[in-house]
């Protein structure tokens, strides 16, 4: 995964060529943890410049996400999750507003909700609409580069659902009045 670091200074939005960002998150050598990255790669193959959708992947989290998301108007995040309350391959779907800012910050970590809340507080131009897809995974703890079979089976269908959501965000924009 090769991504260059965009230049971001507080209060300044880096120039973004496209309004919508699909950002795949994950660790590419931790088995199912990489599912977000693989979905992003799958989606990239089906996009053209005219779609207005940029696709990126990153192994970073927390504050580092700001480097990727600042300046985009809309954001679609794809990540792994393990709730054990849904079968592996299940796609959880939720919006920005449903992410809680937890009362206690955990060691090392800043969640997506907290990162976005912090950015808004500091006046950084973060995406207005955020859609989050979390793929229920089976094994995110073993070092390895292959997805488990239940995830391999649904990778394409997940990618097409995520892509449809991104296209809808991109398409909506055309009809938004621009005052």
């Amino acid at each position: 995964m090769e991504v260059s670091l965009p230049q971001v200074l507080p209060g300044k939005a880096p120039p973004r060529k496209k309004p919508v960002l699909v950002l795949g998150l994950g660790n590419d050598i931790l088995c199912d943890d990489a599912v977000g990255l693989k979905v992003a790669r799958e989606i990239r193959q089906h996009l053209s410049d005219s779609d207005g959708i940029e696709v990126q992947e990153t192994a970073e989290m927390g504050l580092s996400l700001l480097d990727y998301i600042v300046g985009f108007e809309d954001l679609v995040l794809v990540d792994a999750v393990q709730t054990r309350q849904a079968p592996p391959g299940f796609l959880h779907e939720f919006d920005d507003g449903e992410l809680q800012v937890l009362p206690i910050v955990s060691p090392h970590f800043l969640g997506v909700g907290e990162t976005v809340a912090l950015a808004r507080q500091l006046g950084l131009p973060v995406p207005r609409r955020i859609k989050i897809f979390a793929v229920e995974v089976k094994d995110p703890f073993t070092v390895g580069v292959c997805l488990t079979p239940p995830l391999r089976r649904v990778l394409r269908s997940i990618a097409s659902r995520v892509l449809a959501a991104a296209r809808q965000l991109a398409g909506d924009r055309i009809w938004l009045p621009s005052y």
């Binding site: 670091l5 931790l30 580092s64 393990q82 939720f94 970590f109 995110p140």
Partner: protein, 526 residues
Amino acid sequence: MNPDTAKVWNEASSRANAAAHAQRRRVTIDPVTRLEGHGKIDIFLDDQGDVERAYLQIPELRGFEVFSLGRPAEDMPQITSRICGVCPTAHHMAATKALDDLYQVEPPPAARKIRELVYNTFMMEDHALHVYILGGPDFIVGPQAPPEQRNVVGVIEKVGIEVGRKVISMRRRLRELIAYFGGKVIHPVLGLPGGVSKGLKPEDLPPFQELAKDTLDFALFTLQVFKDIVLKNPDYVKLITSDTYTHRTYYMGLVDAHNQVNFYDGLVRVVDPNGREYAKFPARQYRDFVAEHVEPWSYVKFCFLKPLGWHGFEEGPQSSVYAVAPLARLNVTEGMPTPLAQKAYEEFFNTLGGKPVHHTLANHWARVVEMICAAERMVGLLNDPEIVSANLRVIPTAKPAVGVGVVEAPRGTLYHHYETDGRGLITKANLIVATQNNAARIAMSVEKAAKGLIKKGSVSEGLLNMVEMAFRAYDPCFGCATHSLPGHLPLCVSIFDRERNLLRQLVQPVSLKPGGRAEARAAGKR
């Protein structure tokens, strides 16, 4: 064996088995749930309703050694930096140093200085993130603040939006320096056996010198913030020095030839609970001093000082438990290598009653002292004419066999140990990460906090926070899985009575789906 003897034997054996079984039942380690990635604390009460034992479970990474076998040793700086999204630079540098050792090659001075520069920059960035964002809710917002304010938004409200912007901007610029050399911050490609892959062009030097100067100002500013908010508040100071957060253990950290702090290189020094030198050894001898103890209730391996033997989770003279991380590093040194850090270091020990300091929460302050040291090192290195030298590599020629590298990760001493065949393909790989070094002391801290807060069956409402504070000061890594939503570490505390019935369970729930609240048990990240 005659029938009578056999009967006695069998009875004794079945009693022993039953006892062992009962012992095991007291704690619930579900082989499935243990990998959920949250901090899981089980607390067991005795007849009086006081805490008998408390256990902390931390998830761990699997399969690293298997994954490494047969791969070229030169790939290890890339592979190991990928296993952890928190400390990529620390793993990258420890692996690079292990390769120097493997090929018996010493990098040229400029290469060493570039590595040190990148490493101190990383240390600065990571420490700043912890002081302001991650540890901030404990001290900047305050341990007694209402839960809804104890988050990053509360921190910014307390220090001001301008300071918040400054933190974000500093972080950005520090990462640009790391990216200049490593290509990427998250997966750097800088270290090679015997040198580095990229040098510093003279024309690129001025902006980095400017950055180093700003970084030092920022570190000194941070010390002032810490003094104003934390040290001027008698309640915080009381909390830092309270017995609940104090353990008299050994300490371990890297020192240079003058026994001063060095994050990148040196000898490993260990001091005893009275602050006297117990051992000093090169990385290659780590296995003579570090051993791992296994408990039946945990999959975590608890490091201890091998020559002393394992004496349990004990502190004081009979202890063989040691700690790493900022406080440990200050305890093992005889001073800081730079003047302003030295001043802050002296103030630290004068205020806290001399060396060694055994208060776990003093780690937060020690971290600020180290920020000043890292910033001063950046200034020093960027004003060293040799930093722009083009002599960056000594090509290795020795036949590889064994390589051990050590660095001080922000969270403490990190060992990488590889063995290879004659072609340099990995036959064995072992890592000892900071949190393993600290594991026994973290377990002790959690138990002590629980014992201090639960009396006669009455469970204090602030328990979750106070227990969390005990281990957050260590800044532990909970597994290296960096990415699974929601990215929080939902701490789950279960309290059991003497019959092992669940009395209470305190969890931080995370809503995942509209309409339905699912307890998120996502992999701990960062």
